[in-house]
Amino acid sequence: MLLPGAMELYMSTVLSAQQQAAGKAQPTTADKLALPVTFSALTRSFGSGTSEHVVLRDINLEVRAGEVLAIVGASGCGKSTLLRAAAGLDAPTTGAVLIDGTPVNGIDDRCAVAFQEPRLLPWLSLRANVAIGLPRGTGAAAGKAKVTELLGLVELADFAEHRPREVSGGMAQRASLARALARNPGVLLLDEPFGALDALTRLKMQDLLLDIHRAQPTTVLLVTHDVDEALQLADRIIVLGKSTDPARPGASVTEVLTVPGRRPRDRNSADLGRMRSSLLATLGVKGH
């Protein structure tokens, strides 16, 4: 058994080693701060008049700087719409998204998105695709160094000159993640980024995402339909769901859960098991 002092010493050694590792992996991004995101009375509807279709209703949510927030919900409940509003790819009907206190208006250079599909340009090498994520005005040498570093981080250094169709789906998705990171985002928006991958690759990608988050601790909004993924990766989980009241159409935040334990978490822990059951029950899946 360790003495309290020794434990403290051990922890601080681990921490500083981690910080060093993080600093070594990301010398150019260590200065960049993670940014808080606020969804303020956000409503999004499509169409107008009698054909109006409310997707999101009155979303109020504070995402802390540097936290990983998972957004779960039944399909078609507006998870992606919420993410797209934060990215500036879509504008809310009423309400606003604030990043670090200032509203998102159009494409926001403080955010970077990775989609469910890699969406890489097929005629460019992985290196050139990642370089698309670089902020405008990045110098050629600095940009090249950054891209090389990120390709190393997502373990694609040997495939830098390959075209997207020459690599596997998982590799393409890693390149897509590197492209998002190249933007040096204060907020990383992930729209079911591992949803199309096979189960094994998905687990590897989740671990990779944790590594990346340690190395570059941005705020992460992760849309997922995989409850286990949310439990494994997130600090908090929000559930989007529809009200049973027909007078209040559209999805809103029905539950906010804080996931216990530090990452990486034991996938078999009893706490997580209970949480999984209750989450699945909330999502309408009984008896798990």
Partner: protein, 291 residues
């Protein structure tokens, strides 16, 4: 893409324009659709030889006809007579002139028509305003059978090079215009959205995503346009000319020189196939480079 496209574009071009189906699995590279199974038939020399089987068979049957005499020599002169006609025209120095003037007309008309097609296709494909303004007119012009322009062209430009080149221009314009216009309209929205999410817009979005995405389609369009250009060349030369392969056809018809008619047809086939093959090589390169 494939449904709206009125023209049967090549396999490579189609595969490139449509939504490329990438199968997501981690066992290896995403598999390409339409990949021929590796076998004897996919080997290039074998395919080349097989392609020559039918022409050789035709030649044999043709030669056989002169022995059996199903068709008279006037209707179907033997292959040797066509060869003699070629030698005769070469010796008189006429054949090269016919070929040269026809090729020149095709190339100039094709170049002008393709340029115009690229310009207008890009304009209407990228600008909703230009589309709303010009699409109905261009659609109506396209509905006019191209030979209907001939009287007008002759009236305006007289019988000369201009009227012929203009007719070929019209023929080459529409395939290029249509394929580029449709391709720009069908650039993968997901790719455009992803690029926009990374701050690309305006000219940079155009040069980074939209233009590279349509390069293979442009080459398919150019190939179709070239075929159309040869078609319209013959139409133009049949109507009024004193030189060219189309003229050789009418002149030989008037003089009852079936051997020369065959010579002209064979030359059109060979030259047309050659220019198409050259563009085909360029197209395959473009598809490899841009998809």
């Amino acid at each position: 893409m494939t449904q709206e496209n009125a023209y049967p574009v090549s396999k490579e071009g189609l595969a490139a324009n449509g939504h490329t189906l990438t199968t997501v699995d981690d066992d290896g590279p995403a598999t390409q659709p339409n990949e021929p199974a590796p076998g004897l038939l996919s080997r290039r020399p074998v395919r080349l030889l097989l392609g020559l089987v039918v022409p050789a068979l035709i030649l044999v049957l043709w030669q056989l006809n002169s022995v059996v005499g199903v068709f008279s020599a006037v209707q179907l002169p033997p292959p040797s007579a066509v060869g003699t006609a070629a030698v005769e025209l070469i010796e008189r120095g006429e054949l090269w002139i016919h070929i040269a003037i026809s090729t020149q007309r095709v190339l100039i008309g094709f170049a002008l028509g393709a340029t115009l097609g690229l310009a207008l296709g890009a304009l209407l494909g990228l600008s909703r305003l230009a589309d709303a303004l010009l699409s109905p007119t261009i659609g109506a012009l396209r509905a006019v059978p191209s030979l209907a322009w001939v009287p007008l062209l002759i009236l305006w430009m007289k019988i000369g090079e201009d009227s012929k080149v203009t007719l070929i221009l019209i023929g080459a314009f529409f395939p290029v215009f249509t394929t580029l216009f449709l391709a720009l309209r069908h650039v993968d929205r997901n790719l455009v959205e992803a690029a926009r999410a990374f701050g690309l817009k305006g000219i940079r979005l155009l040069t980074t995503v939209q233009l590279p995405a349509v390069v293979p389609a442009v080459f398919s369009g150019l190939r179709l346009a070239l075929a159309q250009a040869w078609l319209f060349l013959v139409a133009a030369e049949l109507i009024a000319s004193s030189l060219g392969l189309g003229f050789l056809l009418t002149d030989s018809t008037n003089n009852g020189r079936t051997d020369r008619i065959f010579l002209a047809i064979i030359l059109l086939a060979v030259i047309g196939k050659t220019t198409d093959a050259l563009l085909g090589i360029a197209e395959r390169w473009a598809v490899r480079r841009w998809t």
